[in-house]
């Protein structure tokens, strides 16, 4: 029974985050409808790609008549952060069977990653943390589909004055703000923040991956320097 409880706790714990991502999903659904996709194509996109950033880019580029290769490359680059999330989750998922690793990998999103790192990092047994993560991931995935369809069918009824799009950065702020306790994390965020704005002119959202890399390097250097300093 504890297995079901871990799953349920993960699922229920993610519901507030799902409410936070709901406006993002609505925006994706509105975009798919505006681009003239059928409802089942829109659902296929949200269910299989399962990435708000990639969905919005794909829809915009399709509507602009971009070639297939350009669309695929742009979405791939925007999704390169999943490589970093995968790397950061790898040590935690290592004790698990291969099938679990392959299944949990599909559910790896920004929100699932932030929650997963926190829960695995808290030192729970791997199996227990994995079931918790599975519950959280399925909560995110299913609510994402429901809200994408809601956005597809009725999203255009939401008035623009509500600034619902602002909920998207807010749910990322909720993920990142608790990180600002450790000095190297603050260094990583400040460098990454400067870089992403300074490099905003780069095509295909390359500024995202470049800034992320610079921030990670800066955080690691700060961590090493701090360690050397305290050892003296």
């Amino acid at each position: 029974m504890t297995a079901a409880r871990d799953f349920r706790e993960g699922f229920v714990g993610m519901i507030p985050v799902c409410i936070g991502t709901a406006p993002f999903a609505l925006v994706c659904g509105v975009g798919a409808a505006a681009a003239g996709a059928s409802w089942w194509s829109a659902l296929g996109m949200s269910a299989i790609m399962f990435s708000g950033a990639a969905q919005i880019l794909a829809v915009q580029l399709l509507a602009a008549g971009a070639p297939l290769a350009v669309i695929v490359l742009t979405c791939f680059v925007a999704g390169l952060r999943f490589l970093m999330y995968s790397a950061a989750m790898a040590p935690y998922l290592r004790p698990l069977p291969q099938r679990w690793q392959q299944g949990l990998a599909f559910l790896l999103t920004d929100q699932a990653f932030a929650a997963g790192v926190r829960h695995f990092g808290a030192g729970h047994p791997p199996r227990q943390a994995a079931r918790h993560y599975l519950g959280a991931g399925i909560a995110l995935w299913s609510s994402w589909q429901v809200m994408n369809l809601a956005g597809y069918f009725v999203g255009n009824l939401i008035p623009a004055t509500w600034s619902l799009d602002f909920a998207v950065p807010l749910c990322f702020i909720a993920l990142v703000a608790p990180q600002f306790r450790a000095m190297p994390s603050i260094v990583a965020a400040v460098i990454s923040g400067f870089a992403v704005l300074a490099l905003a002119g780069l095509p295909m959202k390359l500024n995202l991956i470049a800034a992320g890399t610079l921030g990670i390097v800066a955080g690691t250097v700060a961590d090493l320097a701090k360690e050397r300093w305290t050892r003296r």
């Binding site: 291969q98 600034s163 990142v176």
Partner: protein, 115 residues
């Protein structure tokens, strides 16, 4: 190319690439040992990547990258700072969301009232 076919080609290829990105290091490090320096670097992935995602959303117009008018951007930045403070103190998604949206609406109303 037919529009529906092209859309499904995008879904299939991007879906596969996204999954392979998500699986990549999880699969690689299930057999190999994670290098010490890399394990240290991974700790700073959330702070760096999430900040890079958030900042453009706060200060830029969606999609284009063109900067919004100051009267539109200032409330967003102020509301984001309020939300960041609440998130830092509470670790709570819904409180962060509520604080951010309420601050934004209040500031927008105040700016509209001033003129």
């Amino acid at each position: 190319m037919d529009a529906t076919l092209k859309l499904w080609a995008v879904i299939a290829i991007v879906g596969t690439l996204n999954y392979l990105s998500r699986l990549s290091f999880i699969a690689i490090f299930s057999r190999r040992h994670v290098p010490v320096l890399l394990a240290r670097a991974f700790r700073y992935v959330p702070a760096a990547m999430l900040t890079a995602l958030v900042l453009p959303m706060v200060v830029e117009a969606s999609g284009g990258g063109a900067v919004r008018a100051a009267s539109a951007v200032v409330p967003r930045i102020a509301a984001a700072i309020v939300a960041g403070f609440v998130g830092f103190r509470t670790h709570n998604t819904l409180k962060t969301l509520a604080a951010g949206m309420l601050s934004l609406w209040l500031l927008q109303a105040a700016i509209a009232w001033i003129g």
